[in-house]
């Protein structure tokens, strides 16, 4: 190989390592997170130090870049799901069922957003359920249907946006401490796909 080819190859590898590797991994750690800053339970992912003054640099960058205003994760945890429990991308073309067990948490909320964090447009202007607004089953569980068209019971419209994100907020200091310290916790609700059109 000629000297020029050799130099070009070395320059390309250098640029890929420095810019692709350096900036690419930074972007990934800030946007998607890793085990250093997030914990994942099935389809749900939470930034465990969100809102805390002692949060790690990835969490701080994630919060700032996405325009988030989280309450400290010492009190409240926010779990985000972009896939169902089988790992398929959440989309408004499919219907989903989420069953929340009878929970002792002080307060929770399940909301649906589009892929950019915007509320999904729907005629009912219904975007979330919490313990006060959701109907309970006789055994205390709460079943929520995320679907484009109206359903009986707790129906959360998923609108016409292609990708959707489910956000489950739990206000429970004991759970927050367990998750932050890496302990095991009760399973979070499964997101079951009920069907697609």
């Amino acid at each position: 190989m000629s000297l020029l080819t050799n130099a070009l190859i070395n320059f390309a590898v250098f640029a890929a390592l420095a810019f692709g590797g350096g900036l690419g991994t930074a972007w990934y750690m800030i946007e998607a997170g890793s085990r250093l800053s997030t914990r994942t339970f099935g389809p749900w992912t939470s930034w465990t130090a969100a809102g805390r003054p002692e949060a790690d640099p990835y969490t701080r960058a994630h919060t700032a870049r996405n325009g988030l205003l989280p309450v400290s994760s010492t009190l409240e945890l926010t779990f985000r799901a972009k896939t169902d429990s089988n790992g398929s991308r959440l989309t408004s073309a499919c219907d989903y069922t989420i069953v929340l067990p009878s929970t002792e948490a002080a307060w929770w909320s399940l909301a649906v957003f589009d892929g950019q964090g915007r509320l999904v447009q729907n005629g009912a202007e219904r975007h979330a359920f919490n313990p006060q607004t959701a109907m309970r089953e006789p055994d205390g569980r709460v079943a929520i249907a995320v679907a484009r068209d109206a359903r009986a019971g707790n129906w959360l419209p998923s609108g016409r946006s292609s990708r959707i994100v489910l956000v489950f907020t739990v206000q429970d200091a004991a759970l927050a401490a367990t998750v932050h310290d890496g302990g095991q916790t009760k399973a979070l609700p499964e997101i079951q796909r009920a069907g697609c059109r």
């Binding site: 190859i9 350096g22 325009g67 205003l69 409240e76 002080a106 909320s109 006060q132 956000v167």
Partner: protein, 193 residues
């Protein structure tokens, strides 16, 4: 002893041209860029929550925001089943007196720095007193500590500006007006020096 494999992977010829210095310096620079980009992201990000709210919130005044809807959403991923009262505070002109209602489950009073750090949080609980009041003072300013009366509760802010957020859970459409009325009792007023 290395077994005789039927197939030995052969690297492309151009890979043998890569020098170890290229790998070492490229990797090192990649690491430096990774660290710089991570620490710079919160500083250069124009989309952070405080920057976005700065344009819509008056200074040292509590504002009850309209219920979040698909056409009126001030921040991404902001919980939609709650009402918000927010105050953008600035402490250089004096401490700020804060009164807030935290009426029950789902209600939260939180104080944030411009960087998004939530340095104080108070959740609403059923048996707790429903209204709290305190003086928000700059951290490390002994003048305010001396001036405060024995009954004044003080909260020290690590930054001279930031956000006070009162979040009220909506318990149903029929209670929105009532919830909003309780939320309107929250205030944030600068106490002149």
């Amino acid at each position: 002893m290395i077994p005789n494999l039927p197939f030995r992977p052969k690297l492309p010829r151009w890979m043998s041209e890569i020098g170890w210095r290229t790998l070492a310096i490229g990797g090192l620079l990649g690491g430096v860029l990774h660290i710089l980009a991570t620490f710079a992201a919160p500083l250069v990000s124009r989309g952070n929550a405080y920057q976005q709210l700065r344009a819509v919130l008056p200074l040292n005044q509590m504002v009850v925001l309209p219920a979040p809807s698909s056409s009126k959403q001030i921040l991404p991923y902001l919980q939609p089943d709650v009402l918000y009262a927010m105050c953008r505070y600035e402490l250089t002109g004096g401490p700020v007196s804060v009164t807030a209602a935290v009426s029950g489950p789902g209600w939260v009073l939180s104080l944030h720095t411009p960087g998004g750090d939530n340095f104080y949080v108070l959740p609403g609980q059923q048996l707790r007193r429903r209204e709290v009041s305190f003086l928000l003072v700059p951290s490390g300013d002994p003048a305010h500590a001396r001036r405060a009366g024995p009954t004044d509760t003080q909260v020290a802010s690590p930054s001279t500006e930031g956000l006070i957020v009162v979040r009220a859970a909506i318990t149903g459409l029929a209670w929105v007006a009532e919830t909003e009325a309780v939320l309107r009792k929250s205030s944030c007023t600068q106490v002149k020096r």
